[in-house]
């Protein structure tokens, strides 16, 4: 006999459950947690190198890539702990992947935990990892129309960091348009114009991080 069974459950329910557990663990440890999301090559790791030089042992990073440990190596060399998740094909990090590597970090002195997601503007935006906020990076070389073309991420990002602004003289990028579009998608968004190469805009970013911290 045929029978209909109500399920009414999100496909993300398993991930959301683990993310909620992560969030509790992070809060108990007094960590501020960022989930850094952007396309590949927008400058996430360079930003983390600059932050590692500033925060040293007070910051730790869980970094995700399809393959290789280049990113973790760079962040460690710049002065912060880092562990590398290699997903071997999966295009985003999940809450369980983060949970499973958390034990590899010594978190006693750490105030700021940054999860560097796989370089991808689409999939990582819908996976909650237990972070306090999502931060989107957008480099001027990618084009100013990206926020509207990939709204799923920019709807959810509390902060947007425009990177590589030292390249503005060489590319057609309308900063005002990108900023306005980000505000349309999320009126509460904090928008930072930065260059890790020249250091421009970094103090504003550090100031914002300080306002988030709870330890």
């Amino acid at each position: 006999m045929s029978e209909k069974i109500e399920v009414k459950t999100s496909a993300q329910s398993v991930n959301n459950q683990v993310a909620a557990e992560n969030r509790e663990v992070f809060a108990k440890k007094g960590l501020t947690v960022l989930n850094l999301v952007s396309s590949a090559g927008s400058g996430k790791t360079f930003l983390l190198e600059v932050m590692a030089k500033r925060y040293g042992p007070e910051m730790a990073v869980i970094t995700g890539d399809i393959q290789m440990t280049y990113d973790a190596d760079r962040i460690q060399a710049a002065g912060s702990q880092a562990v590398q998740i290699e997903t071997h094909g999966t295009c985003h990090l999940t809450a369980a992947m983060v949970r499973d590597r958390l034990g590899d970090l010594k978190l006693e002195k750490v105030k700021l935990l940054v999860i560097e997601n796989i370089g991808n503007l689409v999939c990582p935006s819908t996976y909650d990892l237990g972070e306090n906020i999502k931060v989107a990076l957008l480099s001027v070389a990618e084009g100013d129309e990206k926020p509207m073309k990939y709204p799923a991420l920019f709807l959810r990002a509390r902060a947007v960091i425009l990177t590589k602004i030292d390249l503005l003289p060489y590319v057609n990028f309308n900063v005002e348009r990108a900023q306005n579009d980000c505000r349309k998608l999320n009126p509460q968004v904090q928008f930072f114009k930065t260059s890790c190469k020249t250091g421009e805009g970094m103090e504003e970013w550090f100031g914002f991080l300080k306002s988030l911290q709870n330890k």
Binding site: S10, A11, I66, G89, T94, T126, P187
Partner: protein, 123 residues
């Protein structure tokens, strides 16, 4: 085609992991009976692409012994409520509220991909 072969052939899209989660949910709820149909709802802002999701889900269910399961998905448009109180549905994020043209809005539907129900048969 098997799931393993497909994963060898291509880099899995994130619909693969969504499909794995859905297959788990469906199997948990099936009470060991044969699954005939899965009813899904896919939000416009869920980031899930229907064709990829159903391709993976069909293969995964097939390998779990549930052949020829019918998959049906209802598309859920993105619905917003504006600070002015207006509720509206749009897929054009660049356009503001149809009443006040503002952008101070909250998304209230269309963010999720959900298993609504399943149809099983014990014969």
């Amino acid at each position: 085609m098997t799931v393993d072969f497909l994963l060898w052939l291509t880099t899995p899209m994130h619909e693969y992991s969504v499909a794995l989660n859905i297959a788990d949910l469906v199997l948990q709820h099936s009470q060991g009976k044969r699954i005939e149909k899965v009813n899904l709802s896919i939000g416009d802002m869920s980031g899930v692409f229907y064709d990829s999701l159903t391709m993976y889900l069909q293969l995964i269910l097939d390998e779990k012994g549930h052949k020829n399961v019918m998959l049906e998905a209802k598309f859920i448009p993105a619905t917003f409520v504006c600070a002015c109180g207006k509720e509206y549905t749009t897929s054009k994020m660049a356009e503001g509220c149809p009443a006040c043209a503002g952008y101070d809005r909250k998304i209230i539907a269309g963010k999720d991909c959900q298993v609504e129900s399943i149809e099983v048969n014990d014969e």
